[in-house]
Symmetry: C2
Subunit: 430 residues, 2 copies
């Protein structure tokens, strides 16, 4: 291993000769002195060269620099490297397409995405992915602590039952196959094996719409568990997980959040909740527009409800429960007390839905009935229904879209800003 000190650790080595290594972030040639700013995974280090020193390296060249650590209150972290001996570990064959050292990268989003392997090096752009990684770590830690088992389910599947329209088709050894839109069937089946499971994996939606919050491929944070009485217990476990994710971001990515000027949401001990019908009544009486007959919430309604929750409950998070059965997938459990409504819920954060979940059907006969009520044959669902023939407990779960969560946490206007290499209607590379 190149024996090196990370730039963030330089202050602990004042008076010693050490080696640092990283990318040439910036050259500053002043009258009386020349500075090199070196960037590594921990931050920036200042290296001092005599005035008029020739710097034969372009920005983004990888350098290894041996030198004396010297106190300087003006340097990042209060220490800099003097008397440097520089070894070049790479060229750049090309100057970088943008000035990565500027506080804000001066380029349009499409241009940033076209050059992602380079532009993601910008400290602000990179920060979003530190928040994502911290969130996923918090998701797993919370569920590990609750006795959940991690599973990895297949992404190539033989039938496109959940929603045939928006599914990617695949040539599977000459046979038709599809990319999984969600691990829904598999995670339910695994409740029969482990009772409590989660998965972090890709989900694929051939969404023909081009919006700031949809992707053709995203990372889904799924959980499913058994022996519940209703969806309120799913919501209680989800609250613990959301709190764990927020705490993990605070613990592991606070400097990233600071750089982004973003704030971790406070997760109240009880996230306020509203029934779908109450939500529509509130909106109707507040806006004067009668929306009580609507089958679903429009984005503007979700924004209004979040403002209401903030105002009335001081909460950035809000559960809306009991969506109409007709607007939910066939496996959604009905509300036994309220015909036509479901035990499904959404969790809204800062004006946007970030989690969809609920209680599922668990009896074979209820699946058969639910499909019949929608006028669908059971035959294409034979594989799905198999597991319910052999004893399944009452169960439920949810899916969190990692990129959408990260966008809301970091204040990104477009989910593509917090997706490493986004895929959409128009974009398949890099």
């Amino acid at each position: 291993m190149i024996s090196r000190v990370l730039s963030a650790d330089l202050p602990a080595h004042v008076g010693e000769r050490v080696t640092i290594a990283g990318w040439l972030h910036r050259r500053r040639e002043l009258k009386s002195v020349t500075f090199l700013i070196l960037r590594d995974r921990s931050g920036l280090a200042q290296v001092v060269l005599p005035a008029g020193a020739v710097v034969p390296f372009g920005e983004e060249t990888v350098l290894q620099i041996e030198g004396l650590v010297t106190s300087n209150a003006q340097a990042p972290g209060g220490a800099e490297l003097t008397e440097p001996a520089i070894t070049q570990l790479s060229g750049p064959a090309e100057p970088p397409p943008f000035d990565l050292y500027r506080p804000v990268l001066a380029a349009s989003l499409p241009t940033i995405l076209d050059h992602a392997p380079t532009t993601l090096r910008h400290p602000v752009l990179r920060s979003g992915f530190e928040v994502a990684a911290a969130s996923v770590a918090g998701f797993r830690a919370a569920l590990d602590g609750l006795g959940f088992t991690e599973v990895h389910t297949p992404k190539t599947v033989g039938s496109a039952t959940e929603s045939g329209a928006n599914v990617f088709g695949l040539d599977y050894f000459g046979r038709p196959a599809y990319l999984a839109q969600s691990p829904q069937f598999y995670k339910q089946a695994m409740v029969g094996v482990f009772e409590r499971v989660y998965e972090v994996g890709p989900a694929f939606r051939a969404e023909p719409s081009d919006t700031v919050r949809h992707l053709a491929e995203y990372t889904s944070l799924d959980a499913e568990f058994g022996f519940i009485t209703d969806h309120f217990e799913v919501m209680a476990v989800l609250r613990q997980v959301i709190a764990g994710m927020a705490a993990s971001v605070t613990e592991r990515a606070s400097s990233a959040m600071e750089l982004l000027g973003a704030r971790v949401p406070e997760v109240p001990a009880q996230i306020p909740h509203l029934h779908f019908t109450e939500a529509l009544e509130l909106i109707s009486s507040a806006t004067g527009e009668d929306v009580t007959g609507e089958p679903d919430l429009a984005p503007a309604h979700e924004r209004w409800l979040c403002e209401w929750a903030e105002r009335e409950h001081g909460s950035e998070l809000l559960y809306v429960t009991g969506y109409p059965l007709a607007s939910k997938p066939f496996y959604t459990h009905p509300d036994p007390a309220r015909p036509g409504y479901s035990n499904g819920f959404d969790l809204l954060l800062r004006g946007t839905e970030i989690v969809t979940g609920g209680q599922r059907l668990h009896r074979h006969e209820d699946y058969v009935e639910a499909l019949a009520a929608r006028g669908e044959p059971t035959e294409p669902y034979a594989g799905y229904l198999q597991v319910f023939e052999h004893g399944m407990p009452p169960h439920g779960g949810w899916a969190i879209g990692m990129e959408r969560w990260t966008a809301l946490l970091t204040g990104a206007a477009n989910v593509r800003q917090v997706t490493l290499f986004p895929r959409d209607l128009h974009r398949l590379s890099p």
Copy 2:
């Protein structure tokens, strides 16, 4: 939440009335007594009914049982439930296709896989997936501790550069696309951003061969990191990770390993290593067959070498280094001291290769030269090569196949036994 005690915790509640819940694992109707054995995620519980009691539930029915916890040395864990009041939470509409309570499931592998949602409930089959989950947790914990960042890279890609033959083609909004065979390009690009990254995700190989160790879709445990001097440093970090995975299995899945009659390998402080040419010489002089001209190791050679490592070094693990460049992908770094050989390595465990890794090229001009030496144009690799135009440190990494690792740990003869829902030439469901 159904307020319940897990079966493993019953002994702590002797003398109390509690509720347990789970699947009816077995009915035992004896002359003087009837037992119900209930299975939950923690194990088995014995429930005592009077002799001649009618049990109207078939195996795999989900039950909730309230009763008195009573000491009984003959019961699992030393306690059983008496005076039971039983609530049925599900049917089974159908009797299970197999007796899940028998120590070994009496069915062929294809039959087991066809009924996976049910057969995976068998405690022995389920155990393999507990070992897999513990291994992945150990993988992440080891790398988190070494400053690695977790990434999620796209699985739908615009070009099939790594090996065009065995790639799945996709209809991507009317354009051709492919399923990623590995995150190789993306993890290398991310070394330019985070220095040290890992990913746990699916990889897709349209392998037309049908063997006990190949899958069309598997879970790849990838890592890549920068600022190395050569592949021996990749091997040193990998040793720490393998040790972390083994320790995690011991910690989190020891009863699963016990049920499988399997043993966690000991990971020596230094895993022994052999150069590829030394390995061939050893085999040649031991077997009398001259294999020194071979371009790669055959499976029989790998088995022989592992026996040798066990005999000579007391190690179940062995590194083979320096494979011929011609047998390695174009991004493999050559051995500067030995023309024609590479800084690539394999890690063998119990006779089989479980990890492939090495140092990669990091200079743009070296990529151009390596492709020219293979007679390949650079044009299809333009996206890949872009990142090397802007400064990349010397770096390397590896990929571990999760299912193959789990099969070797648990002694599964076929990798499909430890794959939740395997995908191969013939199998695309359930």
